[in-house]
Structure formats: structure tokens, C-alpha cells
Symmetry: C2
Subunit: 473 residues, 2 copies
């Protein structure tokens, strides 16, 4: 079942060229080239309703030079190259619509340097966020960006992802200092020096972050790190309505409280978390919060937040600095999507990802809740509410074509609603194949033409992850 269609198949599949490239790759890389069907299918999209489109081969580079050689072989044969981290992207980013070679960074997962004084580190793209933070722990530093999955850092940069900490720490665009990138020519560039800021020319770092492998392949990242806070407090706060949650969030941020996490769960999502994680929370709209600072400042932040919540009819805000309780809470939050299976065992799950100005969030969420009800669908809502970003988890019986159709239509209306409110079709998941059809509405044809002209300038033969973000013939 393919609902979000790969918009345009952009170049013809060329079996002879692919065979030749795979032969050359095998000569160069031996058993680090794999062509078994199972492995190839694991390297297409596996996690969402977008159809699996496997590559023709998977290669496991061990160095930037390996990646350069792979790109040169593929370029010489006009064969597509699709970078692969751990395959948790949601919009078909790793699919191979015209075949080609998946470049799996499994073996490039080292931390190359930690510069504690500079609050940065240099890593290979295949390391995952949990492995990175595990290895950083002794330095007193951490990398704050936390998408739901234990994604690879290369993939996180490529999709410009974020997560629950973004309200305080920003997204990948704010936490990547420099990238090493292999271009479609096989040449390698460094997008920036390690200095914290620069005004030296075009911002190639930010151009590559979010480009989803369509302009080049990231082979090294210099990341900004943050100090592990001295003290952390976390808690939950029930509210009479989604509006009250949103208004409390707006006032919390406006009043300068540097909240680290502020997550909305609607009543249905709280119910799912109760069922899955046995939280015993009241089943009303709810904020999950976390504050970072010193003992004194997290106490102050928590107290002030509680006062603001009370003004909007929320509370009591129950919070703690105890590690086990906080961990239990945030594990439940990270399992929110998974916990939805408890609401409808056996259903397929599809995540949406709009983001609107925070002043429009309550309106957007409540209109969407009405739409869900009118569409006779089951779709709990979680939101990175400090950023105006929220996800529906559509729980669908994929064998019920009428229900699938209603879900598809709801998803379309959700994007239209967000765009009408000056929002975006994707806050953090990226475009991939699934969101291509919305970019003209979001940017207009002239801006999309600029994107196409950049794509053509950097990848004139359209071999870098073709069929993603922009359609290039």
C-alpha cells in the first residue's frame, strides 16, 4: 500500500549500468558489497506505509576515501547512490526508486575527537545518538538532539531532525558546526572550520543539513555539545483542555523560563501511555516537562511554571529531581508511539509531522481533533509544543481500503491546515518521497525552482539520492 506516492520517477532505471557498477564495486570492496535480497530490502523503506523500494546493492565503506571511490564508480555509470544510517527515517528517504547503491555507514561509527574545552566533538556518520551519549558521558557533555528512534547522527543531520529537547537546544541545524561531504564528482569538501561562528561566505553547512543526501554524502560531522546539567527536574501537569496546555506553554516561554522539554499529550495519548507504561495519570490533556540548571534554578523554574499552569486551570504540577522517576516518565514519553498499539492491537501506525507558529497551535490541534472524530479514525496526538510541532499517530487497519482512504484524506487536510496557518508540512521528519507533493504549496514555484537549480548545480547527473525532496528530470 503506497499512500504517499514517490511523486515523480525521475530517471529511468538502467539495469546494465547498475550491473556494471556493482561488478566494479565488488572488485574494489569484495565482501563489503552485499546483494542478497533480504539485505537489500532492509535498506529500502521499512518503517512506514511508503512501499519498500530496495537498492540493487549495499556497500559498507570504512573511510571517506571509500565513499569517494563508491561515488566515482556510481557516477561513471550514472547509477544512483543512497546514503543509509540505520533506516529509521519516515518518508522513504532510503528508498531506491530507480535502483542503485545503498551506502551503509554501519562501519563508520567512531568518535574521532572530543574537544571538551570547545564543547564539540568530531564523529563519523554511522554512530547513533544513544551510542554517542554513552561514550560522551565521562566528559560531562552530551548531544541534546533526540528524535524518537536511536537514529544515526549522519541521518539526523541529513534530515535536519530535532526532538523533545529542541525547544531549548535547537535542531540539527543549530548543533552541527561543520561537515565533511563527498560530492557527486567524488571530490570531498569541508563545509566549515571548527570555530563557533563564521561569516566567511555561503553557509554550506546549513545547506547540507536537511538535504537528505541529495547534494552530497556526509562522511564526518563536527557537533556542538552541551554540558550535562548539574540538576534536572521533570514532571507532569494535567490541563482541562489542549488550549490550556498551549496557552501555558506560550506564557512559559514568553516569561523567559528556559524550559528544556515541554511536550503535549492529548487525552487519548495519555490513555495509551497509561495502558503501556502503567503511569496512572489522569486521562486529560497533559504536559510533560523538564527543566535543566542548578538545584536552585530548576526549583525556581518548576515553581514558576506551576504558577503559570494554575492561571490556565492546569495542575497540580507534580515534579521531581529523582533520576528513576524522571527516567520512567521520559521512557513512557519516548514509547508514546509504541504504546499506541495498546489502543488498537494489530493496527498500522503512520506519523504526521506538521509545525505551525505556536500562537496557532491550539487552534490547529483542536481542529484536527474534530477532523479525526469526523473521519471516524483513531489518532492520538503528541506535540513538541514549545516549537509548535505535533504528530498524529494514525492507527489504521491497512486491509480496510475505506479507512486507509479516510486516513490519507485527513493527512492531506492536516498539511493544508498547517500551511494555511503559516506552518510547514514537516517540522522534523523531512521530505523524502512522502512530502515532495507539498513543497510547491509550501514554498511556491519560484523558491522550488531555486532548490532545483541548486540540486542541478551540485548534482548535474542526478545520482545523489534521486527522487527525494525535488523532482529533477
Amino acid at each position: 500500500m503506497v499512500l504517499a506516492q514517490a511523486a515523480v520517477e525521475q530517471k529511468a532505471r538502467n539495469p546494465a549500468a547498475i550491473r556494471k557498477a556493482v561488478t566494479e564495486l565488488t572488485a574494489a570492496f569484495g565482501n563489503r558489497v552485499v546483494t542478497s535480497q533480504a539485505v537489500r530490502e532492509q535498506h529500502g523503506n521499512t518503517v512506514t506505509w511508503i512501499a519498500n523500494q530496495p537498492p540493487d546493492a549495499v556497500v559498507y565503506p570504512q573511510s571517506t576515501e571509500d565513499v569517494q571511490q563508491i561515488v566515482r564508480i556510481c557516477a561513471a555509470n550514472g547509477v544512483a547512490i543512497i546514503p543509509f544510517g540505520v533506516g529509521t527515517s519516515l518518508e522513504g528517504h532510503v528508498n531506491a526508486p530507480v535502483g542503485g547503491v545503498s551506502v551503509d555507514f554501519r562501519d563508520m561509527n567512531r568518535i574521532l575527537a572530543v574537544h571538551a574545552e570547545d564543547l564539540d566533538c568530531v564523529i563519523e556518520p554511522g554512530i547513533t545518538r544513544k551510542a554517542l551519549n554513552e561514550q560522551l558521558r565521562d566528559s560531562g557533555l552530551f548531544f541534546p538532539i533526540d528524535p524518537g528512534a536511536d537514529a544515526s547522527l549522519g541521518g539526523m543531520a541529513a534530515t535536519r531532525c530535532s526532538g523533545t529537547n529542541a525547544v531549548r537546544y535547537g535542531t540539527m541545524k543549530d548543533n552541527v558546526i561543520a561537515l565533511k561531504v563527498v560530492l557527486s564528482s567524488g571530490e570531498v569538501i569541508d563545509t566549515a572550520r571548527r570555530a563557533k561562528k563564521t561569516s566567511a561566505g555561503y553557509d554550506l553547512t546549513r545547506l547540507m543539513v536537511g538535504s537528505e543526501g541529495t547534494l552530497g554524502i556526509i562522511t564526518r560531522l563536527t557537533l556542538k555539545l552541551s554540558g550535562i546539567p548539574e540538576a534536572i527536574s521533570g514532571g507532569t501537569c494535567p490541563f482541562p483542555s489542549v488550549e490550556a496546555c498551549c496557552n501555558t506553554t506560550i506564557h512559559t516561554i514568553q516569561s523567559g523560563i528556559p524550559v528544556a522539554r515541554i511536550e503535549l499529550l492529548d487525552a487519548l495519548q495519555v490513555r495509551a501511555c497509561n495502558l503501556h507504561s502503567n503511569l496512572g495519570l489522569p486521562e486529560t490533556p497533559m504536559l510533560f516537562l523538564e527543566f535543566h540548571g542548578t538545584d536552585a534554578s530548576v526549583a525556581e523554574q518548576s515553581k514558576r511554571f506551576g504558577e503559570i499552569a494554575a492561571e490556565f486551570g492546569g495542575g497540580p504540577f507534580t515534579w521531581t529531581t529523582r533520576l528513576e522517576e524522571r527516567t520512567r516518565l521520559w521512557e513512557a514519553r519516548h514509547h508514546a508511539a509504541l504504546s499506541n498499539f495498546a489502543l488498537r492491537p494489530g493496527a498500522a501506525m503512520v506519523a504526521t509531522d506538521v509545525c505551525v507558529p505556536i500562537s496557532r497551535l491550539a487552534e490547529c490541534v483542536t481542529e484536527t481533533q474534530r477532523d479525526i472524530e469526523a473521519s471516524r479514525l483513531l489518532a492520538p496526538i503528541v506535540g513538541h509544543v514549545g516549537d509548535g510541532n505535533f504528530h498524529l499517530t494514525l492507527l489504521i487497519d491497512m486491509d480496510d481500503s475505506d479507512e486507509v482512504k479516510r486516513a490519507e484524506a485527513l493527512s492531506e487536510r492536516l498539511v493544508e491546515r498547517a500551511l494555511a496557518m503559516d506552518g510547514t508540512c514537516t517540522g522534523e521528519h523531512g521530505v523524502g518521497q512522502g512530502k515532495m507533493k507539498y513543497l510547491t504549496a509550501e514554498y511556491g514555484p519560484a523558491a522550488l525552482d531555486v532548490m532545483v537549480s541548486i540540486k542541478r548545480a551540485l548534482d548535474p547527473h542526478n545520482i545523489m539520492n534521486p527522487g527525494k525532496i525535488v523532482a529533477v528530470s
Copy 2:
């Protein structure tokens, strides 16, 4: 005297085409086109040692549509277009090396919307940072980026500038949400929606920020705003050495103190400030600091900073929350460059702008101080030390050609030193004409080729501020 030479004159000046364009512009805009020599010279570079290269005409648009029409007329005649804010850029950004038309945003200086709940505003590019904050004051919000000059926001975005608050609030790249841009074709694009974050395709906003008018002309900005802090404390702390200043800074940031400003002045700069602003400070290396937060948190931050400073032999840290004293201090800091005239009346001043990883800062500054002494030059140092960015103010007798030569050589060595330390040739001033010659050393030829290919893709006829950032034939 032209020390930093405009690297390559990139297209021939075409007097007939320029005359035709100016005639057409005059027909369209009447007395909003000015060609007097005085006005033209005011629109070339006037503030640094780079020679003044005036445009052939100055036009004052009142709308995006006006800018589109100007671009279409210039494009049809192959004539260069140079955007102009208030002309405070330091690297010849507003010069017209092949002539052309300066587009002065004097009449486009309105705030179009303030969205207090979203912490953003929509403005025209000609408004200056002081005027913006003046008009925002009643909203309880402010825009934190503060270059030395009272620059226009359009120019600040175009040069990716920053200032003393960047250590806490980031640079222009972190505080621009979206831009309206007129392209070289005359078409207009919006680079993003007003949502706080997005993963929808290439980051055109960050591509335009720092592109210095070479890819398009900014005609509207959506800016992120911050809440005016409840409490502010500020003060000064003397140190036995520049190293002690830098080590204190590193530990302050590492320990998670969210310092809002942390500025280094070397002993000579303190002396100049004493002379100019009558501060009565001890003439040793010094940090100027500011903390933002609540009463309790600024007191806590100030106390903890004082303890760290003492560990490195610094102190006493004297601080206050009183507005007059803080204003006196930061006015003195903002007048630091000006105050240097007190050290050498009649001298010309030239500002350098390297930025290095903070771990290398002490080494970079002290090596540079030795170099200044060996070069028999007078050059006080100020630094946005939390970012690793520092400026020498070279005080030069421009009639002494030997001294000018020594200053030029020192400036070259400073950039080489910064690059050798993984730094950048410009932390916040931009490339313009003056820093073009360093970009190959900073990025390497392949990355520079990427910049050139982007320039060609977006401005195929090289009419958008030609002769800046990258050389395009």
C-alpha cells in the same frame, strides 16, 4: 590606499548599458533615483581602508515590487545591483567595482508585524537595530544581535553578523526565521514559513543569510525575538593575563552558566576606554560580563562566575544590577573602537576579525600580541571571547607607507594563524572584497567551487553585487 584589494574585477564596466539602465530607472522612479557625486560616494565603502568605489546611481525603493522592477531593469541591461542598508559594513560590501546601481533601503524601514505569542516580528530591511528595539520595547521583547554599529537589519542578515550577545543568543543565522528575497530574475521568493522549525527541503534562509546580496536582495525579514530579561547583572573582572581571561571563559561556559555577554579587553584596550570613558579600571586584561535571568538566577550566575575567576587568579568581580552603571559600562564597551583615538589621535583604524576554537584563543591572542609588538604597531584587542572571536583595532598613520606595510603583513599573519588553529578569517564582518583572497585557504578549492556553482545557478549573469565573496567571470 587600498590594502585589501578587490581580488578580481569580474566583469567589464559597460558605460552605455549603465546609462540606459539609469535612464529607465529615472523614468520609473523619478526623483527616487539620485546620481549626484556626493550621494554616490556615500554609497561606496566609506568606513575602512578599502578604496571608495561609488555606484553610478542610487535608487530608493518603497516596496518589494519596486525592488523587482529595479532588478528587472538592471538585469535587462546587464548592470550590477548593490543592496545598501546604512553603509557600516567593513569589507567593501557596498562598493561598486564595475559600477551599477545601489539600492538604498532607507524608505523601507517599517515593522510590519509583531507576533508577541510567537516571539517573532516581520520587518523591512532598512530598519536599524536600535530603532527596532526602541519600537519593540513596549512588547517586552527585544532583538539581541548587536554589532558595533547601528546597522540595518537587512545588512546584518546579509553579512551574517553577530556581536556581544552572540554567546547566549547566537548570530543572525540563528535569529532569522524567514526572508523575502528578490532573485536576479526579478522573481520573489519566501525562504520559509513562520513556523519555528522545518525540515522541508533545502535551507534557503541560511543560504541567503551571509550571502551579502550576491544571491538575491532581501526585502523582508521574519526575526526571532527574545523576552527582555526580568533581571540583568553586569560587571568587570580584572585578570593577571589574557590566558587567565580565556581559561575563566572556558570554565564558565563549560559549567553551564548561561552568560549573556563575556567580552575580553586587553590592557591597552582598557587604557583606551579609561581615557575615553573615564572608567577608572585597572589597566590589566579584563572581562566585561552580563548575566540575564531572574533576580535569583543573575545573583547565582554572578557569584559562580566570581568563584571561577578567582580560581584563575582573577578578581575582584564587581557587579551590579543598577541600570545606569550597567549602561555606562556597555556604552564604554561599544565605544571601545572609538575610544582608541585617544591612544593615537589622528590615526586611521582598521578592524580585523578572526575567530578560532575557544581552546586556542589564549594562544592566538598572546601570539598576536607578540606579533603586534615585534611589528612596532599599536593595536588594542577586544574579543567576543565566549565565541573565540576577537578584533584588533590597528591604529595606523596612513601616510607612513612602511607602517601601512607592516600593518598589512600583520593582518595577513593573523589570518594565517587563525586558519592554522582551525579558525576562520571572519567571525562576523563578512567577506565583501577584503576577505575574498582568504577563502581558498579557508575552504579549499573544491568547497569554493561549490560556492561558485551556487552563485552561477542563482545569478547566471553575475549582476547581484558582483566582485564580493566569490570571483565569477
